[in-house]
């Protein structure tokens, strides 16, 4: 008799992370596995024996569709890094005894590079101890900073939200650009990789110039050069829009946001919660350039706006869940599912699988050659890379004009 499956979600939510959960559940049920458990709040909740039987919640195709269109993590999430195996063997024994207790054969974790570390450590431990469980990771992060895979589910929808909102803000800012000039700064997520802030350039189309300047965390921001660039644009344009990453740094490595007043919060992965770079730069412009300035932080809206999810992204998120479940059932362990783009136009993608040791804790940044204009814009190649990922949308489930969600 086949054992059971357990699946968890970890790290920051995306607009489509639940589509991967739907893909895992559907595949496991189709392949005749007995139970599909969902761990509540990732491995952190599982350690407290917090889990649900997903078939209590997903009862039919309609439920599955609704789950695909639900933002945030249906099961709850965590930011919890397992200690090294040698550091706390008791913890690992506990996890594996809980897995045995539920007769778990297959463990799937949907997450980013920190979460893939969990897959790495658990699969290593299983190999070391001869435990029967197999472990596979499904990629997920709006940041698009996972290695090996062409891109990550969650990025396309975040990029679609960011590009759409950027375009709407640019049109709005132009409405008041007659007598008075204005400068708008958009603060976009992305700690060390500029994929998200770069996606503002997708708003550049025949009906919109896109942002005037884009500052990625990959390239240091020199305040004097920044002010000069803004001055240059305000001499030729009435309304200037600048996109900056929350993680943008000065040449000496100081985070721009650290120049602000906002208290810095450090999460359980040791990452500082970054916020305020936009405000710091806005104040810099107000002092040095003098025009009306405004900061807009897209904040967590960019990771939870499932109402604007891209169809390609939802499908791929579902598919990595499907393929991940299938792969681990076929005997794989210690791997992550990857997306392999065979052609960008017309877009053709397939799925692969890769050793987790090459992926966990590695960050993929925007290639140097895609960052142009002295670090103040992204190239056409960058836009062509992103373009297929934001295409299409699914019909909405709404009630009373507001999107309907599936909740525990």
């Amino acid at each position: 008799m086949k054992g059971n499956v357990i699946v968890g979600q970890s790290g920051g939510p995306t607009a489509v992370i639940n589509a991967s959960l739907a893909g895992v559940f559907k595949t496991a049920m189709e392949r005749g596995y007995n139970k599909v458990y969902g761990m509540r709040y990732g491995i952190l909740g599982f350690l407290d024996e917090q889990y649900v039987d997903l078939s209590d919640y997903i009862k039919n195709e309609l439920d599955l569709e609704l789950l695909k269109k639900t933002p945030s993590c249906f099961l709850g999430s965590c930011r919890f890094k397992l200690p090294g195996i040698h550091e706390d063997q008791e913890l690992y024994k506990k996890i594996f005894s809980l897995l045995d207790k539920l007769n778990i054969e297959i463990f799937i974790y949907i997450g980013g590079n920190d979460s893939m570390d969990t897959i790495k450590k658990l699969s290593d431990y299983a190999l070391l101890t001869g435990a029967k469980q197999r472990f596979v990771g499904c990629p997920k992060t709006i940041d698009n900073d996972l290695a090996i895979t062409d891109h990550t589910p969650g990025f396309g929808s975040a990029a679609k939200y960011i590009a759409t909102s950027t375009k709407e803000v640019i049109q709005d800012a132009m409405a008041f650009s007659y007598k008075k000039k204005n400068v708008t700064i958009l603060e976009i997520m992305g700690r060390n990789a500029g994929w998200l802030v770069g996606s503002t350039a997708l708003s550049r189309q025949e009906d919109c110039n896109g942002p005037d300047l884009i500052y990625l965390p990959e390239v240091p921001l020199d305040p004097d050069a920044f002010i000069q660039k803004v001055k240059d644009f305000t001499t030729i344009k009435k309304s200037v829009v600048i996109a900056v990453s929350e993680g943008v740094k000065l040449p000496d490595g100081t985070l721009v946001c650290e120049l602000g007043n906002d208290a810095a919060f450090v999460d359980a992965f040791g990452h500082r919660q970054l916020s305020g770079a936009g405000k710091v730069l806005t104040n810099m412009i107000a002092e040095n350039v003098g025009y009306k300035t405004r900061t807009i932080e897209f904040s967590i809206l960019q990771r939870c706006a499932t109402h604007l999810a891209s169809r390609v992204d939802i499908d791929e998120a579902y598919n990595v869940g499907y393929v991940g479940c299938e792969a681990v059932m076929n005997g794989e362990t210690g791997k992550m599912i990857t997306i392999e783009v065979l052609k960008r136009a017309p877009y053709v993608a397939d799925y692969g699988i890769h050793d987790i040791h090459d992926i966990a804790n590695v960050e993929k940044k925007v290639p140097d050659e895609w960052i142009i204009r002295n670090g103040t814009y992204v190239s056409n190649e960058f836009r062509e890379y992103c373009h297929p990922l934001v295409l299409g949308s699914l019909s909405k489930h709404t009630a009373g004009g507001i999107p309907k969600h599936m909740v525990l």
Copy 2:
């Protein structure tokens, strides 16, 4: 021979203000008027003879549809209050000579209560001097604070955006609510009237509890009572979400945002640009309650998110343009078009017309009886009032996955 028509847009943009422009243009052309001019940047641009012939841009039904789905003010906007007639007769003479020069018979202004002051003054001047021009206003404001009309075009779409985003943020905040409690503050527009912040309550449905507390500008916020309320909620809930108006005030009348660091900007109508109330309250919670806190400002996204416009709102915006144009052609002047709701369920609305003197510079606030729980929530009546206004959506025009807009 019929004279010409001129139309302008004024004040803050909405997601659907261009639908009203489309309604005016279509009606004027259907009724056989010769030219429909659009003033650039409202009356401010018109004073510099900045205008366009709209038929150069709107050439067919598809253009008209695209215009209806374009955010911001297609013609540009202004915040410019005309002086009193007795204060600067020369200015009025100039305006009317420009109108005569273009053979304008009909003047339509799409705007909020400050913009209706322009219609009032111009129509008064025309009556005083026997000028041939007639003046009608079409209501427009996300703030929903215009008198006489049941509601204003622009409000429904803003409410739909706010309710949708609030619901998505609430789901997101719950993902991390296992071990650590969190408090999220949503800062919503609305200087003196709480319609927008109240619309966060539309997220309260069977799959979502909605925000836990709602602070409207109509009711003073007592910091001690506020902190106590937050403490109360954090004892019974892991994730607490609070919606506050940007214009929320302390019992002594001080704006909460004035307690913060952000420089205050005063616009040409003399209104202070309000921003920072959420941050001030977030810091207050961090100091007194101690949980992880976050502020999310919906900022101008709530007034330009045409990608999430409500169908009812787009239709009504178009219709007030249509009816406004028709009314002034039929001889009306010094009036504003109103929406009259005959039934809320099933929703049946008609259009009326009302003397501008009762509307200009008047602000409609949320009725006392709709504000409940000691000023910390809105009633079911409030939600029933809003509910029909957020229904439905129009199919999107997109290119490359991003909404397409019509621009000058």
